[in-house]
Symmetry: C2
Subunit: 381 residues, 2 copies
């Protein structure tokens, strides 16, 4: 990428980010959160980029959430000081947590068991300072967390943390919202998520312990919650770019999806109705999130170089560095005539997974063929 790069001069495959769409997505959720009067804590595991983070956070210092300590360290280097490491803490990782805290980063960790709480409390006592922790609540049976009705377990963890000055609150994530079949079901799931977190916070407070933070969120529930009474912050990540899974849920339109993969036609198998491109699973990831949805988009929707979808044209199969484009099964559309060398954009199933295959965003704005910026991503643990 140089200052004069355009869609024509970019090497393919590469990751395109439409800043116009991204800005629209950011503004939409900001407006919703302002309406609820609740703070947004954007999850930076999707962008993994300082430049995107600065546009998605309310202030340069945060708040934000991360999924790895590598993200926490990178964002701390860029001046972010209010971070939640939103994955259950492994005791061996507490050294890196403390190192960040000693640099002035208010990094919070997550626990969902007595054993993990004891590890945090013990390390905090040795360090002579609290390590703030949220207790994860399992609002939907999706993953980790204390069962919301098991107050005995919840309070046992809360006491261990509080005795070491580490209790900051509760958090939950309605991952099952990705499986909802209507916006009404998403709104119901948002209420289930909210009620689980607020109910556990109330139980902690009734036991005489502090619970200043009540953190909830997923991209679907953040957008369709009816109300967020009792919630202090909402986390969401993929909304900054959106993707075909979110479009399939009805959370966004295909036209809102900001991150796509630019690819080049490298061949044809005319007898089979195939167009071959240089975007395989290395460029797209193996994520097939829409496979479980009513409309399966295979490895992605095929658009022209300006981002306009072709009717029923899908990236149907992927090898490591080759993809096979076909019409959707049963389609009456016709295969476009795309010569070798033609460029296309592929809209991915899952933005987090596809972006993770790339080291940078080539930033464009709507239909303009110019590349306005090159934003680096980071990765690793």
């Amino acid at each position: 990428m140089t200052a004069t790069a355009t869609l024509d001069t970019l090497e393919t495959p590469c990751l395109l980010l439409d800043e116009t769409r991204m800005t629209r997505n950011i503004e939409r959720l900001n407006a919703l959160m302002a309406g609820h009067g609740v703070q947004l804590r954007p999850h930076l595991k999707t962008p993994k980029s300082i430049e995107v983070a600065r546009r998605v956070m309310s202030r340069p210092q945060g708040p934000a959430a991360v999924s790895t300590l590598q993200e926490a360290e990178q964002f701390a280097d860029a001046g972010v000081t209010d971070l939640l490491y939103a994955v259950g803490i492994a005791p061996a990782k507490l050294e890196r947590v403390l190192a960040l805290r000693q640099r002035g980063v208010d990094l919070t960790v997550v626990v969902d068991s007595i054993d993990a709480a004891r590890a945090v409390a013990a390390r905090a006592k040795v360090a002579g300072e609290g390590i703030p922790a949220l207790i994860e609540i399992d609002c939907d049976g999706h993953r980790a967390g204390v069962q919301p009705g098991n107050h005995e377990h919840l309070l046992a963890i809360a006491h261990v943390l509080n005795d070491a000055g580490c209790l900051r609150g509760v958090m939950t994530h309605a991952g099952e919202s990705y499986g909802c079949r209507s916006l009404e079901a998403i709104a119901d799931m948002a209420e289930q998520e909210r009620a689980a977190a607020v109910g556990c916070a109330d139980a902690i407070r009734q036991a005489g312990l502090p619970c200043p933070v009540v953190s909830v969120g997923s991209t679907p529930t953040a957008h369709f919650a009816r109300h967020l009474d009792g919630v202090t912050e909402v986390r969401a990540g993929v909304y900054v770019f959106f993707d075909l899974v979110m479009a399939g849920l009805g959370v966004c339109a295909v036209d809102d999806i900001a991150a796509t993969v630019l690819t080049t036609v490298i061949g044809h198998q005319p007898d089979k109705g195939w167009i071959l491109v240089d975007a395989g699973w290395m460029a797209m990831s193996r994520d097939r999130g829409t496979a479980k949805q009513p409309v399966d988009q295979l490895y992605g929707l095929v658009c022209d170089a300006q981002g306009k979808p072709y009717p029923d044209l899908l990236l149907a199969e992927t090898n490591q560095e080759q993809g096979i484009i076909k019409l959707r099964a049963g389609s009456n559309a016709s295969l476009p005539d795309l010569p070798i060398g033609a460029k296309l954009r592929i809209v991915p199933n899952h933005a987090c997974a596809t972006c993770a295959q790339h080291d940078a965003y080539e930033v464009v704005r709507g239909n303009d063929p110019g590349v306005v910026a090159h934003w680096e991503r980071f990765r690793g643990w």
Copy 2:
């Protein structure tokens, strides 16, 4: 990783490479190729590492195959001078191909159409030197390539290349061998692959054109070909590490798989029989290659820290940075008692995809807990 790193001190998740197993895998295929009297051209898209390349190639200069020009450039920087870029060439990539050739790298490209052949020939004429090209043959309907019975098309491409001093031979890849259900079927597929390539080479020679290179290969067919008469070189990549897909095919044993992911237990959901670990799809990839096999291994087989598999224990589900371990459905085995902080190894479905999620190999030898080396990987295009 420091000089004194051990499995206990590594940050997780990370990629482990058992050099003892890798060496055994390399020696096995070298012996088979020596028996056939055919040159091996290892495909370096799997390791993407100079150190692994030096161990898998017959000489420091190659030959070897790559799947991206980024790989070609990295290996050229390390002194590899005999390279095949084994993906159909996009015309815009010929500048980088020529730049490598002008550095003294004998880089060969692949075409399967008149249009691509014309682009190569035209660029070669401008450059005043041939750009050697192989014509891809579609031996099994899997991907790209000229139909092996369509000699008219084959010879038209061959003439375009030959007129510009670019015709070097033919190549094919039996990607369908991954779907075979027996070693006999793999041997049959190897013969189909061999016969398609040799038949096309004969047709080119009968037309009075040169065809010095007849290149075939996939890891399954390379290991079970009955003979390779007329073949000049065999390509294979994933055999250097193997994986669960190859074990499911019977090409290797689970005990041969050299690349695994080291992970840490971060939680439990005892009511559900779940163990949570810090290896999600970011560490494993979303590859589910065994889903199409008779035994589906979900996201991978779970082993203890020394690499011994637990009976029927699988990485069943993955979020971005969390994995859920469960017993295989219907198993009579019992869930091991693994405390928070315990380390495990996960054997992946597909080595190429899982390794691509990591920036380095932590090299171990068999059951020894010491980490003997840290080998960097590269990525991108």
